[in-house]
Amino acid sequence: MKEQLTVSRNFKVVTIILICTGVFTFIFGLILQPQLTWANYLIVNYYFLSLAMGGLFFFVIQNISQSGWASGFQRISEAMMSYIPFAAVFFLLLFFGLKDIYSWAHKEIVDIDPLLKHKSVFLNAPFFMIRMVVYFTLWIVFAVKLRKISLKTDLLDSSDASGIMKLFRRTEKYSKVFIFILAITFSLSAFEWIMSIDVRWYSAIFALKNIVAAFLHGVSVLTLIIFILYKIGYFPFLNKYHMHDFARYIFMLSIVWGYFWFAQFMIIWYGNIPEETGYYYLRWQTGWKILFFCEIGLNWALPFMLLLPVKASRSKPVIFVVIVFLIIGQYIDLFVQVVPGITGLSKFGWIEAGLFLGYAGLFALIVANALSKAKIIPVNHPYLEESLEHRF
């Protein structure tokens, strides 16, 4: 097995073509349908940020719980983390689209609405951007720190046990601090970037649902990357127990996601308060209703049913199918959360497809690039042996 991943020329060409598609779609979209383009810009940006955050979350939890089984795959979560700085740049560009996405960014609407006026202390353009900068700074600082420690461990001599353990403890310490920061800032960011589109509506469980969604889809994409790398000859030690553990992660998180989704829905449905039901009323109109049910079906029901038997959760084809469902499911989830409040039209056209492909290409290129920069297996990780021989 090769120690380091080499990004092939073909892969680079394909991803760059995809990125160009995305750029052209964005430019033409801005000229033709600016509002729809900005809405989709927010969806795909949040989508790929949530994947990166999911990878980061997985990494941090593995460190805190000191679980060894996934330590061989540590580099993949690190590679996914390396997308966060790029996401920061794209999110800051959102400044130019604020008026197209958020109704609270319009002064004339805020002036006549006492509720929005009350909220404008928190929801105003300058403060919104400042908070965004703060969140991204925190995430990038910690992500870079964790990556740096991990790369430093590789350089140590493998017999230097005390040095390795020192760095390992430091990773754990940073992870412990970071998980709190992540939980708080990522919740707030979900409230601000997604929930404030429907500015008159609020739900306390919304952020929790979005964190779990990010974690769920981050882990599924991480598993997908492992499968792809296994196919081209890396990770020869991948066995059914690793797959079972990843499948369990997906299974468990999809149940938690479904639980939160239903909790949010049922409280509002039962309470029947007009301010709250307005959100779901919009999503029960023709054109949206089918997506609304697809969302729970793809993100919860199908993964739950498919991964229930032990044999299925150890088989690569089944897990692969579940991951594909989840990748589509997360897009529909965000689509249903974002678009009804902005344009209100449920249609999937060239703007949606082009932007998604562009970002997918960019994400793939960045992850592959980051993977190729370091040894694909963290050779000096203290728990590596446990990961290679993982069984239960």
């Binding site: 239903f262 049922m266 449905w269 029947n272 032990v310 239960f392």
Partner: protein, 177 residues
Amino acid sequence: MDRIFKIGVFDEEEKFLSSIKSLQEQNFLIYDVFTPYPIHEVFHLLKRKSRLPTAAYFFGLFGIISTLAFLYYTSVLNWPVVYGGKPFNSFPSFIVVTIILTILTVTIASLALFSYRSKLFPGRENTIFDPRATDDKFVIVVETGAMDITSIEKAGKLMNELGAVEIIEKEFGKVNA
């Protein structure tokens, strides 16, 4: 005729597991093992198969269907009451009750089935191979059955070599385990 058992008591999990492997390699019949906590590997080594998960799945299915049928019968057919302006057959409000009752059904039914299969019931007298089997020790019970006396001694010797803290030989007329 009394059945004779050779019982090995172990302190550590590793020694216990390697003893099971060596005993199996030499074709000794392992009657039963006792561990202070569940060890997956023992399950694989003894080649035991459990159909309890499959049964639990069907209990769950039964729980869901019967709970939903019960709720439908009570709130739509038998005693329809309008509350909160909701329709009689309002599926979202049934779900919480269904989840809870399904879990309860699965738990109780699986416990009952497990007890039935392993013949556990109140007042049953258990054969106690070694009192420490329910404590912090790992215990292997080897059935000597048709073997001659030298083989029995060999099994004991093998376990002793592999780190058993104690080897006991016991005879039982009737075994409940």
